[in-house]
């Protein structure tokens, strides 16, 4: 039962992470492969602040703002790049952020990580706190989902889609594509920071190795699999990925084959990405096209 709670908390957190990426990728057509950097920045910012003694809710809010601020800052120069170059630039940016976490030992304790990150004061530590933490995460996820849905089904969302499909048309219609993109990236980064902070306070220990290309691929999978440009898509994707990742733990694998599990999982993830691109690039849940 408690383990189920654990998985659901992961699903809730990854849903927010995936929704935030979907806002940038699915709706606005911005292939931000470095999204995990903002997840990490949110996690580290919130953890460091709360370890200094700040109340957790305050740390989380600060973390969101820092992540969002950095996102906007990076977006301004980066958005001059098109499509796949933007993707690669953001991917490289994420690696640079990770190197920063790893090498700036004075600030982040480098590879030794940050242990003992506290929970919000109204949630108990340890196993006892699990149900409350789940409630906390689910409430946040629902909030984020509703807000994003509101935003994307309204004029802002439609404008984003126009920007995605054809920037010149968007500009002809009087929409400043650049400003819309910045807004999308900022909101996306804020939410990624939130997800990161939630995660940090849940696992109570983070280190630079938690924010690598691996995590980028996982969240990319959530969005690609679930369906870009829809709201339930990333949530569906998050469910699928988390369950697949954890379910493997329960398969009766003989101990000799234990070492094959992770590479095979990795191969499956890679294969899913390739097959999705070949067969159904828009994802499982189709985008609703209003005709």
């Amino acid at each position: 039962m408690d383990y189920l709670l654990h998985i659901m908390i992961l699903v809730a957190i990854y849903s927010i992470f995936a929704i935030s990426l979907n806002l940038e990728m699915g709706y606005t057509g911005l292939y931000n492969f470095g999204h995990v950097a903002f997840f990490g920045i949110g996690a580290y910012a919130s953890a460091l602040l709360s370890l200094q003694g700040m109340p957790v809710w305050f740390s989380m809010v600060c973390a969101m703002m820092i992540a969002g601020g950095l996102g906007a800052l990076i977006a301004v120069p980066a958005l001059r790049l098109t499509g796949d170059y933007f993707g690669i630039a953001t991917l490289v940016f994420a690696e640079m952020v990770r190197l920063f976490f790893l090498n700036e030992r004075g600030l982040t304790r480098g590879p030794m990580g940050l242990p003992g990150i506290p929970r919000p004061s109204f949630i108990a530590e340890g196993v006892h706190g699990l149900p409350m933490y789940l409630v906390f995460c689910v409430i946040l996820t629902i909030l984020v989902f509703l807000v994003i849905r509101r935003v994307t089904t309204g004029p802002f969302g439609r404008a984003l889609k126009v920007v995605r499909e054809d920037e010149y048309v968007a500009q002809a219609l009087g929409k400043n594509a650049f400003v819309f993109k910045i807004k999308a990236v900022t909101v996306g980064s804020v939410l990624a920071g939130l997800a990161g902070a939630q995660w940090a306070h849940y696992v109570s220990y983070i280190s630079p190795g938690d924010f690598t290309l691996n995590e980028t691929i996982l969240v990319l999978l959530c969005v690609v699999l679930g369906g870009r440009g829809t709201n339930w898509g990333p949530v569906l994707g998050a469910c699928a990925i988390v369950f697949f990742g954890e379910a493997v733990r329960f398969l009766p694998i003989p101990p000799d084959f234990g070492r094959f599990v992770a590479p095979i999982q990795g191969m499956v993830y890679g294969l899913i990405l390739v097959v999705m691109m070949l067969k159904r690039p828009e994802g499982i849940l189709p985008e609703y096209r209003s005709r």
């Binding site: 980066a78 796949d84 690669i88 630039a89 490289v92 940016f93 690696e95 590479p263 990405l273 390739v274």
Partner: protein
Amino acid sequence: MTYYLQLLLNGMVAGSVYAMFAVGLTMVYGVFRFINFAHGELIAWGAYLVLLFYLEPCSLPLYAAVVPALLVTVLIGLAQDRFVYKPLRHSSHITLLIASIGLSYLLRNAIRLIWGSDLMTYGLGLTRGISFAGLSITWIQIAMVGAALVFLGFLYILLNFTILGKSLRAVSDNMDLADIMGISMKRIGLTVWLLASVFAGTGGILLALDTNLEPMMGLTNLIKAFAAVLLGGAGNVWGALLGGLFIGIAENVGVAFFSPGYKDFISFAVIILMLLFRPRGIFGIAGGVR
């Protein structure tokens, strides 16, 4: 003074191998117009396949194991195109990029599955470096530079003095026009993948001879190759060569000035700076295999 000269020498050795990687990557871009993220895995597979033929049960001598290893690497490169990239030929750049990321993840984990995540070596004996003028170099490093010279020299001849080479340059310049002129796209495609795979695989084997094999070697070298490609301008073969040399030298000499922990940072910084300020490369030629 010898300190800096040695760093320069090391940089040139590393750079010559990066040049081989970058040249293959940029040629694929020149003809097919996308960055093959899985190019790194050709590097890794080239190196690991030699292990397959060198160890039990094949037990070929090392130099003989290289041949089947490269052959299979070429097959992998061709398979990449046939099964993944060709069907996606007319899709958006992003779809191709995501597919190539997925492919690279698949291939990398396949290596982990077969050979494990641990470091491996070809198990050659230990040798002292050759000393001259206060500098030191091993024979393997000499071989690396030599091989790069031979391969790149061959490429030069190919591109400039053969019909195939000229067709290649025509195709990357303007694919549709070349098609109308009767150049066989199929043959060109085959040639490009052949060259890219052989260059990548050979470079990987040389690297493995010099240091070790580990599953991430494809990805780490891909980043450097990509930085070199950007420096030279995507599609520009000789630009990629110079870019590779530059990256190798910058990495090695740079360590004299800052912490070795940030060594990889150089490639990243180059990539970001080039993308932001001069995406056409230092030589300012966009596209075209020149």
